[in-house]
């Protein structure tokens, strides 16, 4: 008998049962994909670096003399467990050329962007992978290039490059675009291209040019090793430890963090929706439960019917949701974690399976607790839908006759939302989460795209940036004469064209130094401006260094060295020590937030010069950036000239593209969720309100007006959710993005929002898409027969 009732129920209430089924499918798909994503994302960077066998410490040396000294040190150092040295060839501008580029046939000049080296495919430490995360080999005539280099030069697999060294030259076909765990990120100013052993030997085996030596070291005691290494004061170009390499993935971590939040939101949405639907559908069944009680069916019997029904729906829905979770998960993960090698989705199927099982369990749990109330009701209370027949709260909060000019269907929508706020709460929370999922990443993007972001990269804003492509030439010079002469050449050339301009660049020195603890040595870059008087950096506290013995320290380095304003930082040279008074604290996202800045009067020996930034130009009088760029391009056709925005974009361009892709994906996901929830909610409400719809039809409301009533309710809820989401986005953005920018070295980063895009464009898109979905879905009111007026309770 009970099974017969159940069979009839499934058939008769097919609308509500289908809605419940759809919500269960959605919940299972969201939960399974999100939990699985959470697990993958959390360890994604670590596991990628482990896969690549990233050493604890990497240092790059340029000279063969230095090689024997470092080798001896590493062999003798008690804390080193293993080390490897990789021989590479640093290529000059004229040693690489594009022969064929399918995306840009006219392109022949290869933009290096960073220091670029050629080496063979590593087999032990610092491994590289193809796009699918597999190791690879290269044959003669084949070359593999990292993703960022391919993007910078618009190259793809199949394009041809020519490498030359002295009088030797050979053409190479790009076989792979690779993922380089150690040097693949934006923050690494060193990039590797890979050729076969035979090609490398033929091209560079007997080269007289200086080889670059890439050391990978694993140690057992970081502090002890670093202290000993720094005390040796090797002339190395750059050194990084594993922690810093991991920090270079901060943008991927930012993306992972956003995905993490998305996953948590999706899980919350899944449970909210499930609970709402189960409570809602069961409330619809109260009347029948009451009738069954009245005719003497036991509480357990009644409960059994519903538990069985919900179990059947949950089982089927979860199975479908489980299948859908795999493509959904792939969509979220692989589109956004493009720089990492992530575990294949299918290999974690058991997690998805567990989540699907959890959905079944939760459905049964919600059903059990909701039907539990039935026990407390008398038969007649159940028939009255759980009420006792009395109503003390006011049903109508708005008065139609006091609304003056409001059209009745708009009034009905407003009154419904105000009178049944609890019913619309779930929808509001879901829409609000969607708004936050759009606004928070948008703030990150707007901040990174802002012109002033350059100040956070330890540079001053400028109208033009000149990259001669051969900035390394200044490094071997004994003083700044050549550099100053080149800066003056730019200045004079502009002056000859009637443009007065300031021309400057940033030099970076590498000298070991310490703060409060002489044992705690570090060798972060020390920046120094040359060519411009006024200095404008991201100062947090204190003042800029003015005198030769003054220094400014980043907040992060100050903390690491245990120094503050008024303390001293001691630079250690083989023959002496030099003290610098800390005058200020600043922030910089360069070198992961570590660094120093000295005044232009400070004197450093040229041998400690570790690098130079590009030449910056700022006209004294107002001038359009594009105009200046064009002029500089005419004056220096061989140089790469960028405007401010172009330079920022080239510095963090890949990240911005990735962030833009994430933003698009998130917007798509949020809009899809909004549409899905709206459609299901509308179906639920229309099923519940067939009687009311029939009343309105009977008194002459047109279908258009009724559709308006139904869809405006959703828009009111969405509007409120956008409002609350916008309010919450400020503190939540600071809370979520602040620490990430802090990790990057800019803890006091002021988040930028472009109000039109954030508060007009996106809300209008959300309202438009969701409103259209609601209106189209409301078309089903046409099917409501006037005779269904009898279903009004």
């Amino acid at each position: 008998m009970l099974l017969h009732i159940l069979k009839k129920d499934l058939k008769r209430k097919h609308s509500m049962n289908i809605i419940l089924l759809l919500f269960v499918i959605m919940a299972a798909a969201f939960l399974a994909s999100s939990v699985s994503n959470l697990i993958t994302i959390q360890g994604a960077v670590t596991s990628f670096l482990e896969m690549a066998e990233t050493p604890d410490f990497i240092t790059i040396a340029l000279s063969e003399e230095e090689k024997s000294d470092i080798d001896t040190f590493l062999k003798d150092c008690a804390y080193v467990t293993e080390y490897e040295v990789i021989d590479c060839h640093t290529i000059m501008e004229d040693e690489i050329e594009i022969i064929s580029c399918a995306n840009d046939p006219g392109r022949h000049k290869y933009e290096k962007g960073n220091t670029v080296c050629i080496e063979t495919v590593p087999e032990h430490l610092m491994k590289v992978f193809d796009q699918e995360g597999r190791l690879f080999t290269l044959k003669e005539g084949e070359i593999a290039i990292p993703k960022l280099q391919a993007e910078l030069n618009n190259l793809q697999v199949g394009d041809i490059l020519k490498l030359s060294c002295g009088d030797k030259q050979r053409e190479f076909t790009i076989k792979l675009i690779v993922k380089d765990a150690v040097f693949g990120t934006q923050f690494m100013g060193f990039k590797r291209l890979f050729v076969s052993d035979q090609d490398y030997e033929w091209l560079y085996g007997d080269s007289m040019s200086v080889h670059t030596l890439l050391y990978g070291v694993n140690y057992e005691d970081k502090d002890a090793f670093m202290s000993e290494f720094n005390q040796e004061n090797f002339q190395v170009v750059s050194s990084v430890d594993g922690g810093t390499i991991k920090m270079c993935y901060v943008f991927d971590m930012l993306i992972a963090g956003i995905l993490l939040v998305v996953s948590i939101c999706l899980i919350l949405i899944a449970f909210l929706v499930l609970r709402f639907t189960i409570v809602f559908t069961l409330q619809e069944d109260y009347k029948e439960i009451g009738v069954m009680k009245a005719i003497g069916i036991s509480d357990m019997g009644i409960k059994g019917i519903y538990l069985l029904k919900y179990f059947a729906i949950a089982l089927f829905g979860s199975a479908v949701g489980l299948i859908l979770s795999f493509p959904f998960e792939k969509l979220l993960l692989f589109k956004t974690m493009a720089n990492l090698v992530v575990q294949d989705v299918e290999s974690r199927a058991e997690i998805n399976l567990l989540c699907a099982a959890a959905v079944i369990f939760v459905v049964i749990l919600f059903c059990y607790s909701t039907t539990g109330k039935v026990k407390k009701f008398t038969a007649i209370e159940a028939i009255r839908n759980g009420g006792n027949g009395e109503r003390f709260s006011k049903g109508s909060l708005l008065c139609l006759h006091k609304t003056r000019k409001m059209p009745p269907f708009v009034y009905l929508a407003c009154n419904d939302v105000l009178s049944n706020m609890k019913q619309y709460l779930v929808l509001t929370v879901i829409f609000c989460m969607g708004t936050l999922l759009i606004l928070i990443p948008l703030k990150a993007i707007h901040t990174l795209k802002d012109k002033n972001i350059i100040r956070s990269f330890n540079m001053q804003p400028a109208s033009a940036f000149i990259d001669s492509g051969n900035m390394e030439k200044y490094i071997g010079e004994k003083d700044d004469t050549l550099l100053i002469s080149d800066l003056n050449q730019v200045k004079d050339a502009l002056k000859a064209k009637g443009v007065e301009a300031e021309v400057w660049l940033e030099k970076e020195y590498v000298v070991s130094c310490y703060g409060s603890d002489p044992e705690r040595l570090c060798n972060y870059y020390t920046s120094q401006l040359i060519g411009k008087e006024e200095e404008d950096y991201d100062l947090i506290e204190g003042k800029l260094p003015v005198f030769p013995n003054e220094i400014m320290v980043t907040e992060k380095t100050a903390e690491e060295l245990g120094v503050g304003i008024g303390d001293y930082v001691y630079y250690q040279y083989p023959d002496r020590e030099e003290a610098f008074l800390v005058t200020g604290l600043y922030q910089s996202m360069m070198n992961m937030g570590n660094g120093f800045r000295v005044s232009q009067k400070a004197v450093f020996e040229s041998q400690y010069l570790g690098g130079l930034f590009v030449i910056q130009v700022e006209p004294v009088d107002d001038m359009e950036e594009e105009e200046l760029k064009e002029l500089l391009h005419q004056l220096f056709p061989a140089y790469k000239i960028s405007t401010g925005n172009e330079y920022i974009s080239s510095m963090i361009g890949g990240v911005l593209d990735q962030m833009d892709a994430l933003q698009m994906l998130l917007s798509g996901v949020v809009l899809s969720i909004n549409v899905l929830i709206t459609v299901l909610m509308m179906k639920t409400l229309i099923t519940k309100e067939r009687g009311e719809i029939a009343i309105l039809k009977s008194i002459g409301f047109s279908d258009q007006a009724i559709k308006g009533w139904q869809s405006i309710r959703i828009l009111i809820v969405l509007g409120a959710a956008i409002f609350f989401g916008t309010l919450l986005s400020e503190p939540l953005s600071q809370l979520s993005l602040g620490p990430i920018f802090g990790m990057m070295g800019a803890p006091s980063m002021k988040l930028i929002t472009r109000p039109f895009e954030a508060y007009v464009v996106y809300p209008v898109i959300m309202l438009g898409v969701t409103g259209t979905a609601a209106y189209l879905c409301a078309s089903s009111i046409k099917k409501v027969d006037l005779k269904e007026i009898n279903t009004v309770e």
């Binding site: 139609l400 009977s698 002459g700 409301f701």
Partner: protein
């Protein structure tokens, strides 16, 4: 003049793939200002007839003409407009929107009809006047859960009259009311009818039907007979009731 003209009306439902002919070739006319009652046993097709001739349900075959306009050919929008401005409906159950006050339920169709929203003051005056006449002005701001069934039904009558319809369709308007409330509702319907509104009502109650000008008896989807009682006069009620009872017995009631 015929306000409602029905010719060869058929209505067939398909139940379990079998046709169920609920109305069979019904033809009838309701004249302007008339108050006609439809009677018949349960399942005879009374309510279906009312819903079909009022355009609330579609006919399978036949012609329905409302003021000379065939309603079967009208679009959903045109039909809504006619329901809004020229027809009024009263049901056995008091179907009102639960989130609105009594007053707002009454003015709702008028506000909807007032597209330009320029006549709201006049609508409010008419609503108050109607409510005063039907004795429910004191419950205007109440919720629908706070008043009695009789008051609710009178509110439904007010709502049906707010747009000054030409015809009212009432499906057992006193079916859910006690004797006293039933009397009061019928008194109002008679008064409205006297003021010129045509009424077609379905009832099981011979006392209600006795207050109508004409009674149509329907059985198995066909009109079996009709009886004209003439214009209602309170003092002749007993006589009308007796006459009607006798006739109903003849019809097999």
């Amino acid at each position: 003049m015929n306000q409602l003209a029905v010719k060869d009306l058929c209505k067939t439902y398909i139940v379990n793939k079998r046709p169920n002919n609920v109305l069979r070739n019904i033809s009838l006319n309701i004249e302007e200002g008339e108050m006609a009652a439809i009677m018949g046993p349960s399942g005879s097709g009374k309510s279906t007839l009312l819903y079909t001739v009022s355009g609330m349900d579609s006919a399978t075959a036949g012609k329905i003409s409302f003021f000379g306009k065939e309603i079967e050919g009208l679009s959903a929008k045109e039909m809504s407009r006619i329901r809004l401005t020229q027809m009024g409906f009263i049901f056995q159950q008091m179907y009102l929107l639960k989130n609105l006050t009594i007053y707002d339920n009454i003015v709702l169709p008028a506000y909807q009809a007032d597209g330009g929203r320029k006549n709201r003051e006049r609508i409010n005056e008419r609503a108050r006047e109607l409510m005063r006449k039907l004795g429910i002005i004191e419950i205007a701001e109440n919720d629908i859960t706070e008043v009695s069934g009789g008051q609710l039904q009178r509110a439904c009558i007010c709502r049906s009259l707010i747009n000054q319809p030409k015809m009212i369709f009432a499906d057992e308007p006193t079916g859910a009311l006690n004797q006293q409330n039933s009397k009061e509702v019928m008194k109002e319907l008679n008064r409205i009818n006297k003021e010129g509104t045509t009424i077609m009502l379905v009832t099981h109650d011979s006392k209600v039907a006795a207050k109508c000008d004409r009674v149509l008896y329907i059985e198995d989807g066909s009109i079996k007979g009709e009886m004209s009682l003439g214009k209602f006069e309170e003092e002749k009620l007993r006589e009308r009731e007796r006459k009607l009872s006798g006739w109903l017995l003849e019809m097999g009631w």
